[in-house]
Amino acid sequence: MLVSVAWLQDYVDCQDVPSARLVERLTLTGTEVKQVREVGQGLAEVRVARVAGLRRMPGSDHLWLVDVDVDGGGAEPVPVVCGAQNLHPGALVPWAPPGAVLPDGLRLAVRRMRGHESRGMLCAPDELRLGDDHEGILLLDEGAAEVGAPLSAVFPPDRVLELEVTANRPDCLHHAGVARELAAALGRPLRPPDLRLPARAGTPAAERVTLEVADPGDCRRYRAELVTGIGRATTPAWMAQRLRAVGQRPLHPVVDIANYVMLDVGQPLHTFDWSKMGGGAAPVAVGVRRGRSDEELTGLDGVTRRLGPEVLVITAADRPVGLAGVQGGAGTAVDPDTAAILLEAACFAGTTVRASARRLGLRTEASARFERQLAPTLPEVGSARFLRLLDQITGAQLHPGPVEAYPGRRPPAPPVIIDGARLAGALGLPLSLERAAAALRSLEFTVTVADGRLAASPPPDRLDVAIPEDLVEEVGRVVGYDQVPATLPGRRQAVGALAPAPRGAGLALDVACAAGFDEAITYSFQAEAVGRRLPGAGRGQAPVPLRNALGPQWAWLRVSCLPGLLESCARNQARSLERTRLVEIGHAFWGPAGPDQPTEPLLAALVDHVPGGGAVEAAERLRRLLAVLALIGERVGLSPLEFQPVEGGEPGWHASRCVHLSAAGRWLGVAGEVDEGVAASFDLRGRVVAAELRCDGWLQDGGRVPRVHPVARTPAVVEDLSVVVGERAALGVALRAVRAGDLPQLESIRLLDEYTDARLGPAHKGWTFRLVLRDPTRTLTGAEAHAVRDRVVTILSLAAGARLREGG
């Protein structure tokens, strides 16, 4: 929303206020000022001129030699060289003569370009600080000013504020409304708009027009005025200047006045050409109803649109003539010859206009206002303002009227009441009711104070004020939130936990980061096919589709984080990074699709990709990955995390390098090397190892409290033990068996080395373990230590077919 400070001055003294203060005061009312543009500065030396003729400069593909008529008095045209491509003979343009200084400080002179004299220059909007456009020369509207006049006659000095108006404040989409806010913010008096009507005469409008509103839910009020005898005139300069300042193009008086009134007091108006409506001696039946699917209408923009039941239309003799609240019809549009009009000032339902505009794919200044639900009192304000200006500018005969349907008329709402203690308590600011009342009155509220309570009625166009909390806001923003002290809620009772629940997922993330994995965040949606390639922990789960995805690549909610991570690996590979290790902890979505919310498991996914990596180094990375998983399990108290080789392979994974992850009998996920074909389908070269496991619920109860065993201070016996096993013997199985073997004196066992050696025989490998043996109460004898060691060998032989290596 653009507002002109010169225009605001009609309602409140503000032209003397520096821009910085205007910005600050208005912003603190809640209407943010995004930008202030000074327009019409330094334009007195720039003149209005006319292109008398133009031709290409010989030898140039873009420069023009332009003859410019600069005084309109038949004097010799002035030669100007120009590089813009939007000129035509007769165009009215700004010309900066030699010696003039442009707003950006550029001083013009007579120059020669490629042998051609150029006197001064024709200007683009940005060179005049009249806009950001540098695409072409500013083309002035015919009649904007006489040739030779200073450009400041077209664009007088003004400041234009670009406002961001919140959805609840349609009253700030016009100058009178913004002025009301500004008056309150500056503490200055507000001048009301002049709403006196011209005299009425002639045939009563009611004899020429009948009205029918089909559904009061669509249209709370429809007010029509019949005006005839409209004279030929041009839009007065002051109005044209203001319209231009806020980005509107003046057309001709009837349309301009309607536009002006909308920007002035906020009521969108529509003017139907009365003769094109079929106006004459017989009354015209004007209706407001829903469109039909077999109807269409060509709008003012020249586009023909099919109507339908979502679209509200205005009809004349049941024929659509306008898209209610959105745009008029071309067939009944006013033109410079229009002598009689039917003026529409209506209050359409915001939701209806919103639905219409969306169905039509057409948002206009009018629909944007109606959508925010205008007040039903506004049509009489808007029509009075229009009729008065029309009478002044063109002369016109206003017929007795109006003709009006007002099915949405309601008794005035009772005042909103708040007691003083509640008001002060809500703000946390000691405040007298008198001060609150004064704040509200500055916004044109009607206020009475009695018995420690305040009763306030908002001005009729402030539909957003209905409950006591609304008064709290109005008082607060006028008094200023900077006046409110900063306090913290009193700790009357303990609330919740003082620390966030330690969350397993966060700890898992920390472990993964410490192990060298960078945290990634990938989109929660993916292509269906991508999700199926590597479902990770979401194996067997039904994916859930989006109804209105941004594209097929994002059409399904993910069942696993892994595909997104593989896509990230591919991006890093494409950018020549050597190795990508990523971890993501996030929610996936498991169906079924339907009326119920899908489950949202929290998954931890890790990938490690080396472009060009081979089988041996991938095996090393996979083992390290399992070690990281084991650390995560230990950190979140899952230990021991168990790795169970998958019999017969798992879709998406290497046929023999894949394990299921579980803890305490609960299945958690899967880890392994990604199938080469799957990796290739993500454009990944080389091998990827990956894992994904469920981590919801970890440590949500604060986690297991560790119980500490006393540390034995007796000496340990440390022994290394070498055994020979088959080449596919499972270390995990062997170690689990030893740990389950009820050997209280075996403090620890760990693998020191795994090796192959010709002396072990074919299809065999060696394991060397380090055993730490200790009894907490006494020093172990050699015989006792030996007994434990023998027991370990027995267990290993039973669990893994191990035999003691000679000499080991």
Binding site: G425, G428, V484, T487
Partner: protein, 341 residues
């Protein structure tokens, strides 16, 4: 035994010390003369006690002098030998330590996660509990119970992904307010971090998915000043102790009054720069007093309780705080980006 023979013993020992070529040799000399039981000087001294009184004094002094002489020689020789050893080791074991030369790679938290954790820690200090809400939400909870009925203009700015007629990807974390009130009667202080979704094609400032943190405090007598104090505490904890905040009236359907919160620019200190758009202020969050209808929708009696709510974007805060110019970097997971955090 005469005092002179003790001095002779010391002289011999000194010569042997000087001849020792390593620390073991020095130790052997020490043991030969000074060993506790059978060192030559120790043995000689054993007889002193038996001497007549007039001889005991001079012999004792001679013994002490000889012992001191030997010990000094030992210490000097040891120190000389150590110095030689160090010099040899310095030569033989020289190591280039100007750089670790091997690298242990530390992974990095995503910038948004890092900010989210900071936010959680700050509000934990104020007694807030972290709770999560579903990312697939009911239209009713995401919109209607927050005073955003169908056709409400606020839906325009939150273009929504739908799964079904009634299920959507949450467009904001605000539905967590409703769920928090359903889950626990006041007093209540929670924050809810998480992903939110808007149907926007990604560009430098728009993403179909981003993060928010919602906060809610409901109790008896909660006032606007409590909201202001809380946000001031947060802003100073997050952006620095000298920060000022500015509360601008705004509009959210589910709070009344509603505000947007600016913090004085932490780069230029409020003088105006490119980051704050020369205004000196940076918008960091939206907030307000919970609308009485929303309290009712959360089964909380608005005549007894009041509360405030706030919502912020960790992505945006990360961009401001870490100087991230293009938000797309947040979701491309380029290692060169992630490793800077």
């Amino acid at each position: 035994m005469r005092p002179e023979s003790l001095a002779g013993l010391a002289a011999t020992a000194r010569a042997e010390v000087a001849a020792a070529v390593d620390l073991e040799g020095v130790e052997a000399v020490r043991l030969r003369y000074l060993a506790r039981r059978d060192g030559e000087l120790t043995v000689a001294a054993a007889s002193i006690g038996r001497l007549p009184d007039q001889e005991r004094g001079p012999m004792g002094r001679a013994f002490n002098a000889a012992k001191a002489e030997i010990e000094q020689a030992l210490a000097e020789r040891r120190s000389a030998l150590l110095q030689t050893t160090r010099a040899q080791a310095a030569e033989a074991e020289w190591l280039d330590l100007s750089d670790p030369a091997v690298s242990l790679e530390l992974g990095h938290l995503h910038p948004s996660t890092r900010i989210q954790r900071e936010v959680e820690a700050i509000f934990a200090q104020l007694g807030y509990r972290v709770v999560e809400g579903p990312e697939v939400e009911l239209d009713e909870v995401n919109f209607q119970l927050l005073n955003i009925p169908p056709e409400h203009p606020a839906r325009d700015t939150q273009d929504t992904f739908y799964l079904t007629e009634t299920l959507l990807l949450r467009t904001q974390t605000s539905p967590a307010q409703i769920r928090a009130m359903w889950a626990q009667p006041p007093p209540l202080r929670v924050i809810t971090p998480g992903r939110v979704f808007r149907r926007d094609n990604p560009d430098a400032t728009h993403f179909p998915m981003f993060h928010q943190v919602e906060g809610l405090c409901v109790d008896e007598g909660i006032s606007f000043s409590d909201l202001k104090g809380t946000l001031e505490y947060f802003s100073r904890s997050m952006f620095g102790p000298d920060r000022a905040i500015r509360l601008r009236p705004s509009y959210f359907p589910f709070t009344e009054p509603s505000i947007e919160v600016d913090v004085s620019c932490f780069l230029c200190g409020g003088a105006g720069c490119r980051v704050c758009g020369s205004s000196g202020w940076i918008e960091i969050l939206g907030a307000g007093m919970v609308h009485p209808q929303v309290l009712r929708n959360g089964r909380v009696d608005p005549d007894r309780y009041s509360g405030f709510a706030f919502g912020m974007g960790p992505d945006r805060i990360a961009m401001l705080k870490y100087g991230i110019a293009d938000g797309r970097d947040l979701y491309e997971n380029d290692l060169r980006f992630l490793r800077q955090i």
